[in-house]
Symmetry: C2
Subunit: 169 residues, 2 copies
Amino acid sequence: MDRRTSSPTSGEALLFLTDEQLRQGIEAMFFAYRGFTADPDRILADMAYGRAHHRAVHFIGRAPGTTVNNLLNILGVTKQSLNRVLRTLIADGLVESKVGRADKRERHLNLTLAGSTLEQTLSNAQRARMRSAFRDAGPDAVAGFRTVLEAMMDSEMRNSYARLKDSTS
Amino acid sequence: MDRRTSSPTSGEALLFLTDEQLRQGIEAMFFAYRGFTADPDRILADMAYGRAHHRAVHFIGRAPGTTVNNLLNILGVTKQSLNRVLRTLIADGLVESKVGRADKRERHLNLTLAGSTLEQTLSNAQRARMRSAFRDAGPDAVAGFRTVLEAMMDSEMRNSYARLKDSTS
DNA sequence: TTGGAGTGTCAACAACACTGACTTAAACTG
DNA sequence: CAGTTTAAGTCAGTGTTGTTGACACTCCAA
């Protein structure tokens, strides 16, 4: 391998790709993800809900009127697994499911007022940590953070991510 | 919204802390973590093992001779949960548990040859993705990635992370 | 020698994922 | 129109990983 883009010194250009650096990146992901989910988990523990409910509520709030199938693709779980979660959320009045106008086979999902409240509560907790981390790290680090995470995604997930990102930009 | 990332002007200095930017960061973490675990998960699916076995094998390989209690703190699970995993790994000859010399209550954990082989297999798969992501993103982005992840950890996890990092640097 | 720490085990349970098989209803297609 | 496909929901069974709670054992130290 020869010298690459940014680093001026020759021998050090690829030092960030050593196995040790990669291993530290792996461990950083592991520990950071624990922090990432810790606050919502604490809130959900008091209710009869778990992480799966959080994810469903998050993405329904993010893409109101989304279909079950679309949600299935975003979450990457089976229909049975999502259905279990959705059933309780609908029964508890946090999510409402409406038959599609154009295609009556589809169900369009929306948060109720109560669902939106829960989403806000969870979202606020998770955003607070993210905001603190972003502020401590600074804008350049945040840009790098996002670049690496995008490069780490499977291509299908990258598509889902980009679609959501563009929908509100 | 106009994207003016690296602008030095005053009013835009905190644009990276908007709720929308934070939400994108949250979603990036979600999708990237799926990619992060996808390759080892595929390998483990064929065996009778799961993600918990991967984590145990990883950290035992990283800190040979570690005690059960130390591993407990790193992994952040209950001892019953870890014990179930360790029991199968020991029974299958991937991990060996030795009574401590100084303190005979403690058990010191090490990978056997077979355990080390599995660790390598999983580690190689996960490192390959991380290497590809790091290379695509470049050294500056990687530095930012690590900075943000560290800021996102709980302080106890940050300590565990730092201890592991320093042990081989 | 008593108390506490470290370890291990048993049992029960919950959350969340999976596969496989099936139904219902609607939409598309030849 | 008949047949096929698609979207959604359901039932039953299973596996991994996590949790509590209770209990036993060993060893160390006050």
